[in-house]
Amino acid sequence: MSSKTKDKKMTGNSGFDPTRRSFLAAMATAAGVTLAPGVVLYGISRSSSANAAVSSEVRWGMLIDLGRCDNGCDDCVSACAKENGLRGFGRPETDAQWIRKVDIKNPETGYSKSLPVMCQHCENPPCVDVCPTGASFKRADGIVLVNKHTCIGCRYCMMACPYKARSFVHETLEDQKPHAPRGKGTVESCTLCVHRIDSDRQPACVEACSDTGGGAMLFGDLNDPESEISKRVANYASQQIRADLGLNPGVRYRNL
């Protein structure tokens, strides 16, 4: 699977054509994973999924069981900040937040709850619809991302997002995490830890929640009927935030 995908990517699907000089030869060498003299391939030992393009057969989603989410716990929030290198500047109005705990209270009944809210990775994301350059996009596997190479910083996606999930980078940043590039003048939001997913790991918040939190967050493939998340959403009632908008978010909540 791995080498097959790689072959296809390197030759057939390649949009890259720098010069006619010796490039195809170089590519063929690379594709065959043979080490020509002077050519060293680094890191070929990574897991197979890192080299494969994502597929729409998968739809990543999350089920958050609020019955196990402690009101005072914000392990998911701090794990996210640590993983993605989010640092505050002491300016709460402009500091970025990819995931936050929201306290809700029903004024009629007095019921109250605290729940984590992040990008809901909608099937029909308004942020993607409104983005003029197509920088805001949905990956084949359902993860909604900002391509910061084409984001012009117009913030229209922030106007369109019903979940207040996006932040604008208001200042110059330094020493970002290599796997989480982010910079001044572009919009960003929860990536569902796409770099982890691409190497078969779970999002940092989910990991932290099961390690030190209440184990409320379950991550998995909503398209796979055999996955744990699919079984749970099939057997128990779950809710989406603002389901009335018809956006079909990939993040679902139990006991909301």
Binding site: K6, K9, S14, G15, F16, P18, T19, S22, F23, A26, A30, G38, V39, V40, L41, Y42, G43, I44, R46, A50, N51, A52, A53, V54, F137, R139, A140, D141, L145, N147, K148, H149, T172, L173, E174, D175, Q176, K177, P178, H179, P181, R182, G183, K184, G185, T186, V194, H195, I197, D198, S199
Partner: protein, 155 residues
């Protein structure tokens, strides 16, 4: 009244004026090797790059751009042509033995880009040095400019 001569003289004066500060900078940085107008490129880790040096000089930006689109849009994360991988091998140690950031003129990318006056905005978002902070054990240099190589006649 010969306008052509005047123009050419003016142009020459301007070019010298622009060129000399740059020459001074490079001469200072390259004091180990001697005065030269050519940039001095810090050696990377390992024996060779992912492609021939000549190929990389001409095409590294295309490789990076190609890889970037595949990674961002399709989630293909082969290390070979990734920016992180470039930085892992080409990190330059500063005086404190930690890798320098792009803010430092000895950064690998700046060695040529400053010389060629080609500004890049990669590092407005991307980390410009390996995450670990310290350089890998097999990194072959520790000072600011321990091993330098000239553009021509390397290898």
């Amino acid at each position: 009244m010969n306008w052509r001569h005047i123009c050419i003289t003016l142009l020459a004066v301007m070019l010298i004026g622009i060129g000399s500060p740059g020459a001074v900078v490079f001469a200072e940085e390259g004091n180990a090797v001697g005065n030269s107008l050519l940039p001095f490129i810090p050696m990377g880790r390992g024996n060779a790059c992912v492609e021939d040096t000549d190929f990389m000089r001409r095409n590294h930006m295309e490789l990076l751009k190609h890889q970037r689109d595949e990674t961002v849009l399709e989630g293909t994360r082969s290390d070979q042509y990734s920016l992180t991988e470039c930085l892992d091998c080409h990190a330059v140690a500063g005086p404190d033995a930690n890798p320098v950031t792009f803010a430092d003129s000895s950064h690998f990318c700046r060695a040529c880009h400053d010389f060629a006056s080609v500004s890049i905005d990669c590092f407005q978002c991307h980390a410009s040095r390996p995450e670990s902070g310290a350089l890998p054990d097999d990194h072959q240099f520790s000072g600011a400019f321990p091993g330098t190589t000239r553009v021509k006649g390397s290898e």
